[in-house]
């Protein structure tokens, strides 16, 4: 059973149709990379899945739960949407860390706020908060940030900030983690540390969808690759094959342009 199923997603901004019917699915523990030229709709697709935009039509299912259905026009309660939101995580290109909180608090803030809704929160407050911190510390040490937990975002390098933001997303234990060009805002020498972290996550069987321009990395880390062009999926398949043996002319052109 696929953990993520995206069916015929369409999205227009005004008169421009940005997504013209995008479908794909992904199994648990697999990594999917989305490649494609600028303006092909990769970010818009991720934003539609993560509720930052509302698709015009289509259907999105996560782990058997329909999180979006274009046919269903009933008004959603904000709380319901939030519950669905928590099944998936998103790592932004620009990190979007909270500047006034230190690293540890950035990672724990949302988790602590969510814990307040637990019925046993009042009784076990101390224990719950301690567990949250402990888990965050573990995540941060996995990210190689143990010595930075009291630092503020403005004191960190871009690569470190992006690792914090990955830990922040992981702290909510999403079923799927989405990345929108996680290394594009970084100096070339810092991209390696992020790619290493993502590689580790892939090894631990985290289900991930990654929009990236790093072809070699996509080929190495992902099971499948989707090539988007002008709002549709122009080609998809096993990672190795897509990159080494592109079938459509558009993908061939894209790959040769990238390798220049």
């Amino acid at each position: 059973m696929a953990i993520l199923e995206v069916k015929d997603i369409k999205k227009s901004f005004g008169k421009t149709e940005v997504l013209k019917g995008v479908s794909f699915s992904l199994n648990e523990g697999e990594v999917l990379s989305i490649i494609g030229s600028s303006g092909s709709g990769k970010t818009t697709l991720l934003r539609c899945i993560n509720f930052l935009e509302t698709a015009d039509s289509g259907k999105i299912t996560v782990d058997g739960d329909v999180i979006f259905d274009g046919e269903d026009h009933s008004k959603k309660k904000a709380k319901e949407t939030r519950e669905k939101q928590l099944k998936i995580g998103l790592v932004f290109q620009q990190f979007n860390l909270f500047p006034q909180y230190n690293v540890l608090d950035n990672v724990t803030l949302a988790v602590k706020l969510k814990a307040k809704e637990r019925p046993d929160y009042k009784q076990n407050k101390k224990q719950i908060l301690a567990e949250i911190e402990e888990k965050a510390l573990k995540l941060l040490s996995d990210m190689g940030l143990s010595d930075k937990i009291r630092s503020y975002p403005c004191e960190l390098s871009g690569g470190q900030q992006q690792r914090v933001s990955i830990a922040r997303a992981m702290a909510l234990e999403p079923k799927i983690l989405f990345f929108d060009e996680p290394t594009s805002a970084l100096d070339p020498e810092l991209t390696g540390e992020i790619l290493k972290v993502i590689r580790e996550l892939a090894k631990s069987n985290m289900t991930m969808v990654i929009v990236t321009h790093e072809m070699n990395f996509a080929k190495e880390v992902s099971d499948y690759i989707v090539f988007m062009d002008d709002g549709v999926i122009a080609e998809e398949g096993k990672a190795q094959e897509i990159i080494s043996n592109p079938k459509t002319e558009r993908l061939q052109a894209f790959l040769s342009k990238i390798s220049d």
Binding site: L90, A110, L113, K114, Y152
Partner: protein, 231 residues
């Protein structure tokens, strides 16, 4: 003589401080209301808020003082002359002048609330969209995102323009004399007229300098407190 002057100026400056404190007390929250109004998605509310800010910022405070002091009384007597049975007119007929001090506070509060609202609005709108989106993606509610994430960043950004505006308020209190509310400059001017003394006027300046100096220190402290992060 020096003692006389000091006593009189202290009294006047008491009035000044009173106007200052009451204005802040009401204008700070009212400004937030107007700011949310002018950012509202509901067009009529947005239009009314923006219109109010435009009129208040576009006309002198002195004019507003005079209108608010004399206006209600004039409307009242005009309405009672009509001897109409229309309930609205009858209600207008009950309008009377504010007493002088109330008129000063009302004018100052409205005026400063409008200035503050623009500072608040600028601060809120300058927070990058990514902060709200990060909050949403992390499953936080809109109010959690506002209070836990955005608010402190807004405060940090508005402290410098707010401190400017508040120091201007200290000096603007002297306009209260337009409708004969006797603040410190009025009191010191009396010494020119009755005793031909100029120095009480400089002495008055000292009151302002010291008070604004204190405010500058306080705002400096707050800025320093919030300098641990960049936003």
């Amino acid at each position: 003589m020096f003692w006389n002057v000091t006593q009189s100026l202290m009294e006047g400056f008491g009035k000044t401080l009173e106007i200052f404190a009451l204005t802040l007390l009401f204008a700070l929250p009212l400004g937030l209301v107007i700011a949310f109004g002018s950012m509202s998605k509901w067009k009529p509310l947005k239009l009314v808020s923006k219109g109010l800010v435009w009129v208040i910022r576009g006309t002198p405070l002195m004019l507003q003082l005079i209108v608010i002091f004399y206006g209600p009384g004039l409307i009242g007597s005009w309405a009672s002359q009509l001897e109409s049975t229309n309930p609205l007119i009858q209600w207008l007929a009950t309008w009377e002048c504010f007493d002088r001090f109330t008129a000063v506070i009302v004018s100052f509060v409205i005026n400063y609330a409008c200035y503050f609202s623009e500072i608040y609005r600028g601060g809120i709108e300058s927070i990058p969209k990514g902060q709200y989106e990060a909050g949403q993606v992390l499953g936080m509610t809109k109010s959690q995102t506002f209070f836990k994430v955005v608010l402190l960043q807004v405060i940090k950004r508005i402290i410098p323009p707010m401190s400017n505006e508040i120091i201007t308020l200290v000096k603007d209190t002297s306009l209260a004399r337009t409708i004969s509310v006797y603040e410190v400059i009025w009191n010191s001017e009396i010494f020119i007229r009755t005793d031909g003394l100029l120095w009480p006027l400089f002495y008055t300046g000292l009151f302002y300098l010291i008070f604004n100096g204190l405010l500058t220190v306080v705002f400096g402290r707050i800025e320093k407190k919030l300098s641990y992060f960049k936003a």
